[in-house]
């Protein structure tokens, strides 16, 4: 089936379907005396012009958004090998339990004794996250991976300050292969970012690291396996170099799917990590969020965790705000609780055996696809990968076919594209992460599609250069969109 849906008409916006006087909503008759806004509100407090919300019937509302959903591709629609994003299957039972009224219809300021179940879940989930990472205490407050990074770095900063080294330690080291959020989070925490090069095996170049390491380093941020999908064999040595200079080690958990149950960041020497619960622990990505960027730290950093921390006192679970060395809050309330429920349900489903099997199978799948594709695409780092791998289109570029073209051609073949043009250290990169939930048949079909595209690059490059051909819209002009942004709908001039 080419593309999705095969629909090609231009789709009206909900505002364009609006007709004055139509409505979908109903509210009960007002059973208290009506207040005229002009009586209860002074003129300066009142709205002058009504907001132009669409006026639409319920059936047309449902059809509109259903139609939009048909123009969207998710994991339930097909293979989604988007590297670094861990697009595994999102179990339906997790959606069901997360939708229980007991988890949804509770207010964060309800007295603790009325939310013991929610607190117990958070406490247990935090304990699980510590066990899986080899850490001591967790905070579930960060809303997403980047938010976890920022929180982890704030904790590192608070730690250095507590030792009187806050002024001195101003740098955070980030490998050139790192996710863009790493340097952005470091900068957002007030740090200067120093980049270190990768070596020829794709790991952190130890000589470059030694050059930049000094007593002004606050931390090194590392993803391991890194964004090339390669495990940095020098992890222990890197930790030693940084620790010897008084710096701390931050672990970017985006790639935890490769190592759950096999090796723990805490045991590798890392001091803080964030999880992407919406990656490793199967909570869906929701088209871009909400996520959960829970963090876990070694014991010496626990005093600095954001407040509140869920604690167990006897048989009772409490929210402790009284942690004098805490960095404070990084978000309102306690984090994205509903996402935690899904992550917790996932860990409880799989247990230790299941989680290890996740890593083993994710890595098996990635190596299988890599082995099959390296005959057709350039593989810049030819060694066993972990849960993902990076190939490039340097062979196809000779025929005028670029990574972006290959990505768009995959859409025509009903696959989502890999992450493209990332990591930045590989030109024309394609980062492919199959995840463990994909069967051999699915992988074989994808491999076949990639081989077909490699052939087309030689025989019919223009087909690829103009792809996609079978999606609801063709290739979109991103240059004009950025130059003359149209970020909202405006009614046509009468």
């Amino acid at each position: 089936m080419p593309g999705i849906g095969g629909i090609s008409m231009s789709m009206p916006l909900i505002f364009e379907k609006s007709r004055p006087g139509r409505k979908a909503y109903s509210l009960p008759e007002l059973d208290v005396p009506k207040k005229e806004t002009s009586d209860s509100l002074p003129e300066w407090a009142r709205r002058k012009q009504d907001p132009s919300l669409p006026e639409i019937s319920e059936v047309d509302l449902i059809r509109h958004f259903t139609e939009l959903s048909r123009r969207n591709f998710g994991v339930d629609q097909g293979f989604y090998p988007l590297g670094s994003c861990t697009m595994k299957y999102n179990p339906k039972i997790n959606e069901d339990v997360a939708a229980l009224p007991g988890f949804n219809n509770i207010h964060p300021y309800q007295p603790e004794e009325l939310v013991q179940g929610a607190l117990e879940l958070m406490y247990e989930f935090g304990r699980d996250l510590c066990e899986i990472s080899g850490m001591h205490e967790a905070s579930l407050q960060p809303a997403a991976g980047a938010h976890g990074e920022l929180t982890g770095l704030m904790i590192i900063k608070a730690y250095h300050e507590s030792r009187g080294e806050g002024e001195k330690r101003t740098k955070v080291i980030v490998p050139d292969s790192a996710h863009g959020t790493n340097p952005a989070s470091a900068a957002f925490c007030g740090y200067r970012v120093v980049e270190v090069k990768s070596d020829e095996r794709g790991g952190v170049d130890l000589d470059s690291l030694r050059e930049v390491i000094s007593d002004d380093v606050a931390a090194l941020m590392l993803t391991n396996p890194n964004t090339l999908g390669l495990f940095d064999e020098n992890a222990v040595e890197i930790a030693e170099i940084v620790h010897n200079a008084g710096g701390l080690l931050y672990y970017d958990g985006a790639n935890m799917n490769a190592i759950v149950g096999i090796v723990r960041p805490g045991d590798m020497g890392f001091d803080v990590l964030h999880y992407n619960v919406h990656k490793t622990f199967s909570a869906p990505h929701g088209g871009g969020g909400p996520g959960c960027g829970a963090i876990a730290v070694k014991e010496f950093l626990a005093p600095f965790l954001p407040v509140p921390v869920v604690e167990k006192q006897g048989d009772r679970y409490v929210l402790n705000y009284n942690r004098p060395q805490s960095i404070g809050m990084v978000k309102g309330f306690y984090g994205n609780f509903n996402v935690m429920v899904k992550g917790f349900a996932y860990i409880r489903s799989l247990g230790a055996e299941g989680l290890r099997k996740v890593a083993e199978t994710a890595v098996l799948n990635a190596n299988y696809v890599m082995t099959k594709l390296k005959e057709y695409y350039n593989l810049p780092y030819d060694r066993f990968c972990k849960h993902e791998f990076v190939i490039d289109s340097s062979r196809q570029v000779k025929h005028g076919v670029h990574t972006g073209d290959i990505a768009k051609a995959l859409l025509d073949l009903a696959f989502h594209a890999p992450t493209i043009y990332f990591p930045l250290i590989v030109r024309e990169a394609m980062m492919i992460e199959p995840t463990e939930t994909e069967s051999k048949e699915t992988l074989d079909a994808f491999i076949e599609a990639m081989i077909k595209i490699a052939e087309l690059a030689e025989t019919s490059p223009e087909t690829l250069q103009t792809a996609p051909h079978h999606t609801v819209v063709g290739r979109l002009d991103d240059v004009t969109a950025a130059r003359k942004p149209i970020p909202r709908w405006t009614p046509p001039e009468e």
Binding site: F15, P54, E55, L114, H147, T181, G351
Partner: protein
């Protein structure tokens, strides 16, 4: 239970293709001294049936607002969530998708975000909206850093009548960025405008007020905006989107940036999250706005389509020079808000706001008839108000729970000087009967 489809045969065929004899070889590059030499210490795996039972038991240990009549607000509100919302956000084409990087197969999400952005611009009366932020608290922090970049100034002025957790989050962010946060006091529940005028200077990046503020009082935003603009500081309005059905829009009183918490727009209270942070601003600030923005464009055949745009602001291109580190946001919650606002439409947003206000005012009037009970402030209010009672509000809350009433927030929790006060929120969901019930129960306790 796991979700791995491989048969033993699949596994051996794949290993053979790779040219190895066992999966452990794929992990041979991990130093053995750090490898885990035991099983993770986790409870045993559960079947779906056991899991459902276990989670239902945990959920059952919580008392929900279905079991009580809630007058608790303080930033999270018990508004009605219509059925259409759940049905749309439960479509797995939406919820199992990633961020819409591949626009041609993500038109659904992209168009819905474009519609969301338009709705938020309409509500706030400003020009540009991003695709969402984490929540109200982080949205304020992002607005502060954005203002600092725009003005190249390092001082943030915020009213003490802004939600305490928003201020707390702002302070955490600001501290690490070297921004100074100065707080303006309130008098009689409203921000002291004269104090703003005294504090604001040519070092001030922005002035932040919430409307209605934490006490439910409607602030004179235009005067605050004027005070900020006097010194060329930006004015940031933190607003409740439901209130914008009747209350003045940030664009109408001179706000440069509007932010807030949009949980009320079709998102369950959910123990505090996921909720929906939003931000809109004036056109000229678009390139300093944090977060994703969807823009309209054309495809290679001239057809209208939507795409993530202005990405040169964002971390994956700009890295340490990005306008923020935010990457994942609250997309599905923004979709919920889009469906909710479309359901309400032009009339509904007004009616729901009017109902909230009428019911809150009725509650306030009835409560004030109880001897010893009075509203604390004189400022106009919308759906929330604080009362002073002769009985300790903590004791009062416990007493109300006996009648299955979640009676509001004792303000002493955040404002020790207001330990005699209770903050009460009334949404369109509350009936006259429930409000009368609150009054009766409260009367019996004072």
């Amino acid at each position: 239970m796991d979700y791995v489809p491989h048969t033993n045969e699949d596994r051996s065929e794949m290993l053979k293709a790779i040219g190895i004899s066992g999966i452990e070889e794929l992990f041979s590059d991990i130093p053995s001294e750090v490898k885990l030499d035991r099983k993770l210490d986790l409870p045993p795996p559960m079947s779906e049936l056991e899991l459902r039972k276990h989670l239902s038991e945990l959920a059952g240990k919580n008392t929900t607002t279905d079991d009580m009549v809630s007058f608790l607000g303080a930033g999270v509100y018990d508004h009605y969530v219509p059925s259409v919302v759940k049905h749309i956000i439960s479509r797995s084409e939406f919820y199992t998708a990633y961020t819409p990087y591949q626009a041609e197969v993500s038109q659904g999400m992209l168009q819905s975000i474009f519609e969301y952005q338009t709705l938020m611009c309409e509500l706030t009366g400003l020009d540009i909206s991003n695709a969402s932020l984490y929540d109200g608290a982080t949205a304020i922090a992002e607005a502060a850093t954005m203002s600092s970049r725009l003005t190249r100034r390092q001082e943030i002025i915020i009213s003490q009548a802004v939600h305490p957790e928003y201020r707390s989050t702002l302070k955490t962010y600001a501290y690490n960025l070297g921004l100074e946060v100065k707080e303006v006091p309130f008098t009689d529940g409203s921000t002291d405008i004269e104090a703003i005028k005294e504090l604001v200077s040519d070092k001030t990046a922005c002035v932040i007020l919430q409307n209605p503020n934490f006490f439910g009082c409607i602030e004179n935003m235009a005067l605050a905006a004027e005070a900020a603009h006097e010194k060329k500081a930006l004015f940031v309005a933190c607003v409740d989107p439901i209130s914008l059905g009747i209350l003045a829009a940030p664009g109408e009183y001179g706000a440069d940036i509007a932010v807030g918490e949009a949980q009320g727009l079709g998102i369950p209270m959910g123990f505090g999250g996921p909720h929906l942070g939003f931000m809109t601003c004036r056109q000229q600030y678009i390139r300093q706005m944090p977060g994703r923005v969807v823009g309209e464009t054309r495809d290679n055949q001239g057809r209208r389509g939507y795409i993530l745009t202005l990405q040169a602001r964002e971390q994956h291109i700009r890295r340490e020079r990005a306008t923020s580190n935010i990457c994942s946001n609250q997309a599905l919650c923004a979709l919920a808000a889009t469906v909710y606002l479309s359901w309400l439409g032009k009339q509904g947003i007004k009616e729901v706001a009017e109902q909230c206000m009428a019911k809150a005012h009725y509650a306030c009037e009835e409560l004030s008839k109880i001897p010893g009970v009075e509203r604390m402030h004189r400022a106009p209010f919308f759906k929330e108000f604080a009362i002073r009672t002769p009985v300790n509000p903590e004791t009062l809350s416990k007493g109300l729970l006996e009648s299955n009433i979640l009676g509001g927030l004792p303000l002493g929790r955040f404002y020790p000087e207001l330990s005699d006060s209770l903050l009460i929120a009334v949404t369109e969901k509350r009936t006259k009967e429930e409000i009368d019930g609150l009054c009766r129960a409260l009367e019996g306790l004072v």
